[in-house]
């Protein structure tokens, strides 16, 4: 291997690593706010990418159908709750607002399939659809489990992952797809060819991180989310609805996941289940960050990306084995410096 190849591998690894970093950040976000180890994060990647593929080829994406079904289930439950606890304007308002947003996004999904709509708009529509799917899944599956243990939430996550993968196969079929590059540019720096797509991914990742750090550091809503992560009881006592915080966290995670998918789709073929492996690597990075540290998780993700790229060059068949083996020393270190997460929750 010469320097030229090494530089190429580093560039490649950093591009993929940036996507892992985005997913790792999303996983840390969801875990800290809701205590859910969100295995289905990767499904958002496939859903986002394949929804945009559908829009790009002039088809109405099947994800709209899924969204409508999930929305109906959520509303049915809300109405049932109303019947049980008595009328409340707040709940009715919530249902009406939700109805309007869902209807709006579905309509956009239909319009988005037309050829005149620019790609950026299609990407935004796909992200909106996946975000709504994500929040609906949270409301249906996780909200009733709010006071459950981390283990129960994890088991639910595995169930949601399997369900979403199966639904993904039914919606998108077994064939993979790609999209044309978002940025069709190339630049040569010395012997190294930098593609516009990898720059776009890097910039998007950086922007997402900056936006998140602004959100958590400067806005009251962001601080409320941080407060919920730190002390749920304290948060409730100042009037922060932990359920709403959970929905917001899931929404942001779904946005990050689907955007990653859209960024990745021009680089590699995306299948209905591609997201799982990508999400799993994001998960390893999140574990490196102890499921709580955003910067450590992001750096871990970049390292995983670069390592993976070098391993693929040397021995591609063992790529995933080696990357997943990486988690062992991290877990060993973590278990040696063990602090019981469930204990922390009760404090």
């Amino acid at each position: 291997m010469n320097l030229e190849i090494a530089a190429f591998l580093v560039q490649d690894g950093m591009t993929v690593g940036a996507v892992y970093a985005l997913l790792a950040v999303a996983l840390v976000l969801v875990f800290t706010v809701t205590r859910i180890i969100f295995i289905p994060q990767g499904e958002f990647v496939s859903y986002g990418a394949l929804t945009v593929v559908a829009l790009n080829t002039g088809r109405t994406p099947n994800t709209i159908g899924l969204l409508v079904v999930l929305a109906l289930l959520v509303w049915m439950r809300e109405v049932w709750k109303l019947a049980r606890t008595g009328f409340s304007w707040r709940v009715v308002n919530g249902i009406l607002r939700d109805l309007a947003i869902t209807a709006g996004v579905c309509a956009m999904g239909y319009i988005g399939a037309s050829a005149q709509v620019p790609f950026a708009m299609k990407a935004l529509i796909s992200i909106s659809i996946v975000v709504l799917i994500g929040t609906k899944v949270y409301r249906l599956v996780y909200e009733p489990l709010q006071s459950a243990s981390i283990l129960v939430l994890l088991i639910a996550s595995v169930g949601v992952h399997l369900a979403l993968t199966g639904i993904g196969l039914a919606m998108f079929g077994a064939e993979g797809s790609r999209t044309p590059p978002l940025v069709d540019l190339q630049a040569n720096i010395g012997a190294l060819t930098v593609t516009g797509q990898s720059v776009a991914i890097g910039v998007a990742a950086l922007l997402a991180m900056l936006a998140l750090s602004f959100f958590f550091g400067r806005t009251l809503e962001g601080k409320a989310l941080k407060a919920t992560a730190e002390n749920r009881l304290g948060a409730r006592l100042v009037g922060i609805r932990t359920v709403r915080a959970g929905r917001l966290a899931l929404g942001v995670a779904a946005a990050i996941g689907s955007a990653s998918g859209i960024l990745l789709a021009p680089l590699s073929t995306i299948y209905y289940d591609t997201g799982f492996l990508i999400g799993l690597k994001g998960f390893i990075a999140a574990v490196i960050g102890g499921m709580v540290s955003y910067p450590v998780a992001a750096i871990g993700a970049l390292m995983i990306g670069i390592l993976e790229s070098f391993i693929t060059f040397e021995t591609s068949s063992l790529k995933d084995v080696i990357v997943f083996t990486l988690i062992l020393p991290v877990l060993l270190y973590r278990s040696l410096s063990f602090r019981d997460a469930s204990q922390e929750q009760s404090n």
Partner: protein, 243 residues
């Protein structure tokens, strides 16, 4: 408003099969301080937790004339019913000023100037908090934490402030300061429901008092009359007040 701000009727709370509170009734009138005293395990904290909505209960809880018995904690907070629990429940990894700002979460749609004037008001009540504003809440002393917990509650302009053992674990001098501030709240129109081990100190600042034992009210009278009640003096007021 002439009626009570908080009107609790026949409140019962059970932990499994054990009934911790049985048919308890109490009321708090606007701008008054009401204290609930009683031995350890009498159900004082349980009462506050039920009124705040943290614990499921039976019976009716009317707040500002509205039945809130079935509302969530967050809805009661929105209405201005604020609890400062015994453990304070601060956001220890966040700064003092962020903790205070989050206290005003129910006014999150208001302008920055409104928020600033709220902060200003709390800082003038607790100058210590202003000095520590950029410090993490976890690094504060016990007294400062209690001040922050009360300050955070005041940020939400409560109609009724419920304090659970505010003097717990605090040095006598700090306790005195906290009680002085609680007594001063009356002038700002905030009603207070206070639970306190230090019964004498509590009765000194309170207008009205309830004595509860084994989950039921056994005595209720004006605070001044309670402090002179021989039975009460023997049971709870034997120790001199902290002053």
């Amino acid at each position: 408003m002439s009626g009570p701000i908080l009107d609790v009727r026949s409140l019962s709370v059970s932990y499994g099969k054990i009934e911790a509170i049985h048919a308890l009734s109490l009321e708090v009138r606007p701008g008054t301080i009401v204290t609930v005293i009683g031995p350890n395990g009498a159900g004082k904290s349980t009462t506050l937790n039920a009124v705040s909505g943290l614990l499921p209960s039976r019976g009716t809880i009317q707040f500002l004339g509205r039945d809130v018995s079935n509302s969530e904690v967050e809805d009661r907070v929105e209405a201005g019913l604020i609890l400062v629990p015994e453990r304070r429940e601060l956001f220890t990894g966040m700064t003092v000023s962020d903790n205070l700002r989050l206290g005003a979460y129910r006014f999150r749609r208001e302008s920055h100037t409104e928020m600033a004037s709220r902060l200003e008001a709390v800082y003038s009540t607790f100058p210590r908090l202003e000095e520590r504003s950029s410090q993490l809440a976890g690094t504060l002393s016990g007294g400062e934490r209690q001040m922050l917990a009360i300050g955070r509650a005041l940020m939400s302009r409560p109609s009724l402030l419920m304090l659970d053992e505010p003097s717990l674990g605090l040095a006598p001098l700090v306790t005195r300061e906290i009680f002085r501030i609680i007594a001063a709240l009356r002038r700002t129109g905030v009603a207070v429901l206070l639970i306190e081990q230090n019964a004498r100190a509590a009765l000194e600042i309170a207008d009205y008092g309830y004595v509860i034992e084994r989950g039921a009210v056994v005595m209720a009278d004006k605070a001044a009359s309670l402090s002179e009640n021989p039975k009460l003096i023997e049971t709870y007021l034997g120790l001199p007040a902290v002053h």
